[in-house]
């Protein structure tokens, strides 16, 4: 069978066999953590939830890739993983800053991360529309829905001929902000949980005080959070395959598959992140 004759890649549904294997991997990762590093079990669960949040959030981000750069399809003219990573890492910056203040609990830290990511996307999406509208004279139009699900604006007549739409209709803008919020919250949750583990375990490992090892704990948790964020963003990007307009795009329905995939990847990454301070 030639490559051209092969079945269309991706698809919409969930593969039951792959999902069961994935769940077994998650349970195995949790079991290994429970045996080898019992105090870190909650942290690994947090990392899995954070990874799933990142994977889910990426599906909200309206990304048009190269066609959007020519005004041929709606969305932001860059790659899915790249934009999601940019927003999520801006969120992680805010979350890590809040986590450095001992007076703040986990709710404040996660919310700070979420707002950091959401703010980055709110500004970026606005500037995209400003460039389209005032720089290129092109109003926003979706190619996937007849009416904007939030505003009810009709789309077809504002779409220029020979294109699939352009710019960011309001639903895509809101999707971008939600994606940034979820990505920032997920990345910060991963960072926060790993920071707790490293802050607790590194002093005994290095035979030093908590203050002395704090910079190492922050750096380790930060670099693992950045790495895991990229793992989950890229996995979700593969699930999307190319471009997505936001929550109204038919591709959005694929998100359960990405959540399972990201949870499995995060469980394995989380296990290794914890084991480096135990073994």
């Amino acid at each position: 069978m030639s490559a051209l004759g092969a079945a269309k890649g991706g698809g919409e549904g969930i593969n039951p066999t792959a999902s069961i294997i994935g769940i077994v991997i998650i349970i195995a990762a949790l079991a290994i953590t429970a045996v080898m590093a019992a105090p870190a079990l909650v942290a690994v669960i947090g990392v899995i939830i954070g990874g799933a949040l990142v994977g889910f959030g990426v599906h909200f981000v309206p990304v048009g890739g190269a066609p959007a750069a020519m005004g041929q399809s709606p969305g932001i003219a860059t790659g899915v993983a790249m934009l999601a990573a940019g927003a999520g890492l801006a969120g992680l910056f805010g979350g890590a800053w809040a986590a450095a203040n001992p007076a703040f609990g986990i709710a404040v830290v996660i919310a700070a991360g979420a707002i950091g990511g959401g703010l980055m996307m709110a500004i970026t999406c606005l500037m995209v529309n400003i460039v389209y509208i005032f720089g290129m004279g092109i109003p926003a139009a979706s190619g996937k829905v007849a009416k904007d699900p939030i505003t009810g604006d009709s789309q077809a007549e504002y779409k220029s001929q020979g294109t699939e739409g352009h710019g960011l209709p309001f639903i895509s803008y809101v999707g971008g902000v939600i994606g940034g919020l979820l990505g920032g919250a997920g990345g910060t949750l991963i960072y926060y949980e790993l920071l707790q583990v490293y802050s607790a375990m590194l002093p005994a490992m290095f035979n030093a005080s908590a203050e002395e090892v704090l910079p190492i704990a922050v750096s380790l948790a930060g670099i693992f959070a950045v790495g895991m964020f990229l793992v989950n963003a890229v996995l979700a990007a593969y699930n999307i395959t190319g471009t997505i307009e936001g929550p109204h795009d038919p591709k959005f329905k694929r998100f359960p598959r990405a959540i399972i995939g990201c949870a499995v990847a995060s469980a394995v990454c989380g296990l290794f992140a914890v084991l480096i301070v135990v073994v």
Binding site: M70, L89, I133, G162
Partner: protein, 299 residues
């Protein structure tokens, strides 16, 4: 009070540095043709359109700037650990990072362009000489300002991340903001300048990029000159706003309402941007109106 004043001053300086960084990043990526519109630069010879546009998109802008800013931040951090003056350390480290960028740009141009040999696209050595140094100069401005901004966040505002980690975070965010905002202006408005203003490029026109200037063939330097008029400053404003508002709300309101102050202010700012976006969206629909067929428009 003094610490808040210092914090606001540093925030303003970081925002200004970020604005310059965003503008330089977008202009550099357009001169080097590294954003998503480069798909058309790569496609053009395959459609029979030979051109003299630089071509170094072997990776997206966010990972490329993540790499260069992190090298700059990491080397500056190492220099500072030896006791070197921070300003000198950042200048030297940024210069070293730009040598990496120069090697990346030269090899990427040679590799990307020579892969089009069977479509008779030549590798222009004069282009390699003239454009590579210009992208390096713009990249230096972007990397130097971003590393300086990261240094301010760490040393003056007390962010817990070490300088190299801040370099990764803000390098990727710089590339993401610059490519998101600047790419459509470079792609639709510059490469397809021959197409109708106020409409997207029809998919059937793909690859037919504008290749000729007022005199002779268009070069990538002309593209930088053009996009520096709107795409670059818009990317600068985008990245500058992100950095300034992120720092401003934290410096001023972090301690308010038990830690929730900065978060509430963040939500309010997001809502304000959302209202502005909705306003300009409806403004465009009202003032530009629906699309009409070309025949109807000319009749």
């Amino acid at each position: 009070m003094e610490s808040i004043l210092l914090g606001v001053g540093v925030t303003a300086l970081a925002g200004a540095l970020a604005t310059v960084a965003g503008a330089a990043e977008d202009t550099e990526s357009n001169i080097g043709s590294q954003g998503d519109p480069n798909s058309q630069v790569q496609l053009a010879p395959q459609m029979g359109y030979i051109h003299r546009i630089y071509n170094k998109a072997v990776s997206g802008e966010p990972p490329a700037y993540g790499l260069w800013v992190t090298i700059g931040a990491g080397v500056a951090w190492a220099f500072m650990a030896t006791g070197m003056n921070p300003v000198l350390a950042i200048v030297i480290a940024s210069s070293l990072a730009i040598f990496v960028q120069g090697v990346y740009a030269a090899t990427a141009y040679l590799g990307r362009t020579s892969s089009l040999a069977k479509f008779e696209q030549p590798v222009y050595i004069d282009l390699l000489k003239s454009v590579t140094s210009v992208t390096m100069a713009h990249a230096f401005v972007a990397v130097f300002t971003t590393v300086s901004m990261c240094y301010l966040m760490n040393a003056a505002l007390g962010h817990p991340f070490p300088l190299p980690l801040l370099g990764i975070v803000w390098g990727i965010a710089l590339g993401a903001a610059g490519s998101a905002t600047g790419n459509p202006f470079y792609g639709k408005e510059r490469q397809y300048q021959s197409q109708m203003f106020g409409a997207g490029v029809p998919i059937s026109a793909s690859g037919n990029i504008v290749r000729y200037a007022e005199a002779g063939q268009r070069s990538s330097l002309d593209n930088g000159w053009f996009t520096a008029k709107l795409g670059g400053p818009a990317s600068g404003v985008c990245f500058g706003l992100i950095v300034f508002l992120e720092l401003w709300r934290t410096v001023l309101f972090e301690e308010a309402v038990g830690g929730w102050g900065a978060i509430i202010v963040g939500v309010i700012i997001i809502l304000i941007f959302m209202i502005i976006d909705r306003y300009i969206e409806t403004w465009a629909r009202k003032n530009y109106g629906p699309y009409t067929n070309a025949e109807e428009a000319s009749a």
